[in-house]
């Protein structure tokens, strides 16, 4: 830890404790570099995470459009593809190598860069200090480092797409031997080295961020903000950070062993397998399953790292726009906690068909199915929050309701896949693709969209355009179901994932039309995301200006800050908190902000 960091934070702590002082010391000497580039203001870092995440979302989404083009039109040629992809699309058709590279990079980028960094990086940074009543993070310097490690990871990942042998192409899980042997495939050469470097940088970024979020939530809350007065967003982001801090190091350990196998000839994962053109390996006794254990010990918590922030934001947005307190606040916290604990105990359900001991498998089935309990509690509470609410259908609310719909649809298929017996048939089929895209991918994207639409006025002091927001919502939700719903049937029919061309398989020829349909919808949905992008950047500069400090009539602290909050968030004193975050429709009042003292004649909730 550097001197400056310590000194700076001492200043921040002192400022935090002295109420009533004016805090102009943060505003002097703000150059372009210190304000927009190497900023230590959590709000600017949040925007950096968001926009970098959006760039990756566009790239990752474009990759899916490209490989859907191959899946939907396996016989057609598109000369313009050769123009942009060169040798990766010789004759206008994506090559098998390029197809695998696209699938792999799409997965890596969406899971880690968009839905981890872009989602919790953005909203943990933005909301934690604003909603708990802190001037900034526990360590603003570490927070800045967290972003720049992510940025470096992005650059390395991006550069891997331009090396001669292409980016890594062995699937986003990077199982050995494809990831451990340079000779295994073109993408296993330099592309894999860059993938590992990028992911290592990303792990560092996540850890720096996560440590900060935890320390901030536990230590920097304003006066009166007890843990049980926190908005559910903060609880969700807190447990997200806990998951990340405890699971990413294990992935890192797995990567270290992988690096040794790749570069130093050790035999952690590699055994004397035979490679075409190379011969038998000198390695002895390694186990690829060992990597899978280490990977999925992160990999499963990772899906909750992606999902929990969306759940938290959705809880908040549903409550605000139903003008009702969240139903079952403590049950919501309890269920997030239960999910966090269970997340660490279910990783082997990704490995039912690896030769896992069936008895062990049955234990993991039980633990996996247990997750249905807290998930059902959450769904029940969301629905009862909506029940007889005075609902305001803002775009944020639409996406929040869409999230609940997707979470139910995708969650139910999780019960199928969690059974090891069913999994023998469904493993590695399109059923899995459909399940995790709906419940984790699209649902979390919906949570992220809900968050963006809802907090955009706080971020940029302008509103997003509502009409474009509604078009964005309806096309995306209809499209999401049209894309992924049919995949369930394909999966049940045994159609395996990751194949390059299904038209040559007698059993899967029947899906040619369906595949074309899915690809067409995918392109339409992608086009609508571009509409959202336009809305986002247009509204930053030209959107309708926010004139009310509290545009959504919400109770939480971020809406007590000025419309254009400076570094330090509140001018003058940090607000003091007197009540929980969900006093909506209480005692005949539409809402009571958290800063309002409890009146003498007020009823108890």
């Amino acid at each position: 830890m550097s001197n400056e960091a310590v000194v700076h934070a001492h200043g921040a702590v002192a400022a935090h404790e002295v109420h009533g002082d004016h805090h102009h010391e943060h505003h002097h000497h703000e150059t372009f570099i210190s304000k927009y580039v190497f900023s230590q203001d959590h709000k600017m870092i949040a925007k950096q995470f968001l926009i970098t995440g959006m760039v990756w979302a566009v790239l990752g989404g474009l990759m899916s459009v490209l490989f859907r083009l191959q899946l939907g039109y396996p016989d057609a040629t598109f000369p313009w593809l050769e123009d942009i992809l060169g040798k990766w699309a010789k004759g206008g058709r994506i090559t098998p190598e390029a197809y695998y590279a696209l699938v792999t990079t799409h997965g890596t980028v969406l899971v880690f860069f968009v839905l981890t960094a872009g989602l919790s990086g953005t909203f943990a940074n933005f909301l934690i200090p604003l909603q708990i009543g802190a001037r900034d993070m526990a360590s603003p310097f570490m927070n800045m480092l967290s972003y720049w490690f992510f940025f470096a990871a992005s650059i390395v990942m991006l550069s891997s797409m331009f090396v001669e042998t292409g980016p890594f192409s062995g699937g986003w899980t990077a199982y050995p031997p494809l990831s451990a042997l340079g000779d295994a495939s073109p993408g296993s050469k330099t592309g894999m080295d860059l993938w590992l470097i990028s992911m290592a940088l990303f792990v560092v970024s996540s850890l720096l961020g996560g440590l900060n979020y935890i320390a901030t939530v536990l230590n920097m809350r304003t006066k009166g903000m007890s843990m049980t007065r926190l908005p559910l967003t903060i609880w969700a982001l807190f447990f997200t950070a806990v998951l990340g801090v405890l699971s990413f190091p294990v992935l890192f350990s797995g990567f270290i062993l992988l690096i040794f196998d790749r570069n130093f000839g050790t035999s952690f994962y590699l055994s004397d397998i035979f490679i075409n053109g190379v011969g038998a390996l000198p390695n002895e006794g390694g186990s690829a399953i060992l990597y899978q254990h280490l990977f999925w010990f992160l990999g499963h918590p990772e899906v909750y790292i992606i999902l929990l922030p969306a759940m938290g934001m959705v809880s908040e947005i549903l409550s605000i726009n139903s003008r009702k307190p969240i139903f079952g606040y403590i049950a919501m916290i309890g269920s997030i906690f239960a999910i966090t604990v269970l997340a660490f105990l279910v990783w082997a359900h990704h490995m039912f068909v690896t030769g896992l001991n069936p008895f062990l498998g049955s234990i993991f089935v039980l633990l996996t199915l247990l997750i249905a309990v807290p998930s059902a509690i959450k769904v029940f509470n969301w629905l009862t929050t909506l029940w007889r609410g005075n609902i305001r259908f803002t775009p944020a609310m639409m996406f929040a309701i869409g999230f609940v719909s997707l979470f139910i649809s995708g969650g139910l298929t999780g019960i199928w896949l969690g059974n090891s017996a069913l999994d023998i048939h469904l493993h590695d089929t399109y059923f899995v693709i459909a399940h995790f895209h709906i419940v984790m991918g699209v649902a979390s994207m919906f949570g992220m969209f809900a968050g963006i639409y809802h907090w955009f006025p706080k971020m940029y002091a302008r509103y997003l355009n509502n009409t474009m927001g509604y078009i964005h919502f309806w096309v995306t939700i209809a499209g999401a179901y049209l894309i992924f719903w049919p995949m369930h049937y394909q999966g049940l029919a045994g159609m395996p994932r990751r194949y390059y061309d299904y038209s040559i398989w007698e059993s899967f020829k029947q899906f040619a039309e369906l595949n074309r349909f899915i690809s067409t919808v995918a392109m339409i949905v992608f086009a609508v995301q571009l509409l959202f992008l336009f809305n986002f950047f247009y509204s930053i500069f030209k959107g309708r200006k926010v004139t009310k400090q509290n545009p959504w009539d919400a109770t939480t602290l971020e809406w007590t800050a000025p419309i254009h909050p400076g570094h330090g968030n509140w001018e003058g004193e940090i607000p003091e908190v007197h009540r929980w975050a969900y006093d909506y429709g209480k005692d005949g009042k539409d809402f009571i902000p958290q800063t309002t003292p409890v009146g003498a004649d007020e009823s108890h909730h």
């Binding site: 900060n212 405890l246 040794f260 952690f268 000198p282 006794g285």
Partner: protein, 190 residues
């Protein structure tokens, strides 16, 4: 946890961050030592004796924990001369520890136990990776000591906050305990 907002004296946020970070590091080593156990129960595991030097390095790191503990005490008593001496000794002991570990690996190689490469066995490779990762963490502690060391010798700016010193000490004890765990693990558990 529910009412820490009302407690009169809260833990310094940086100290707290350090504790969470140590939990994170524990997970990395837990992952590696679990992998070690899994691997050991499979075929072709090479049994060999640990280098004797690891006993000496264990003694060194335990002594360094005592010296840094005394350093914190003398910092709080504002005995700056003693404090400077003690952190210097601690840093030297840290470097000595890393050196002894390195010599231990040289010893293994001298006994024809390959750590890496085609002829290596995962038993030795695991020892290298886990111990090597721990050595890097000790190195991080040495760097932290150098930072507060530079501060202790700074004539212009005097620092009275004991937080950085206490944090360095906490971390130092942590890597010490971590090594004792690994040492016990290699010898008697794994």
């Amino acid at each position: 946890m529910t009412s820490s907002a009302d407690q009169p004296k809260r833990i310094h946020p940086h100290k707290f961050t350090l504790w969470v970070a140590m939990g994170s590091i524990v997970m990395a080593f837990a992952g590696l030592t679990s992998a070690y156990i899994v691997k050991k129960n499979q075929s072709s595991w090479l049994e060999f004796d640990l280098p004797v030097l690891f006993w000496y390095s264990t003694a060194v790191i335990i002594i360094s924990s005592i010296t840094i503990h005394l350093a914190v005490k003398s910092f709080k008593a504002r005995e700056m001369g003693r404090y400077r001496n003690l952190i210097t000794i601690t840093a030297i002991l840290g470097v000595l520890f890393i050196l002894l570990q390195y010599l231990g690996f040289r010893d293994l190689e001298a006994r024809n136990i390959a750590l890496v490469g085609a002829k290596s066995n995962s038993a030795a490779s695991f020892l290298l990776v886990i111990t090597g990762l721990h050595m890097l963490h000790v190195l991080g502690g040495v760097i932290a000591l150098l930072v507060i060391f530079a501060r202790a010798f700074n004539k212009r700016v005097k620092s009275y906050s004991s937080v950085p010193v206490e944090m360095a000490a906490t971390y130092w004890h942590f890597v010490d305990i971590l090594w004792i765990y690994l040492f016990v693990f290699y010898n008697w558990i794994g």
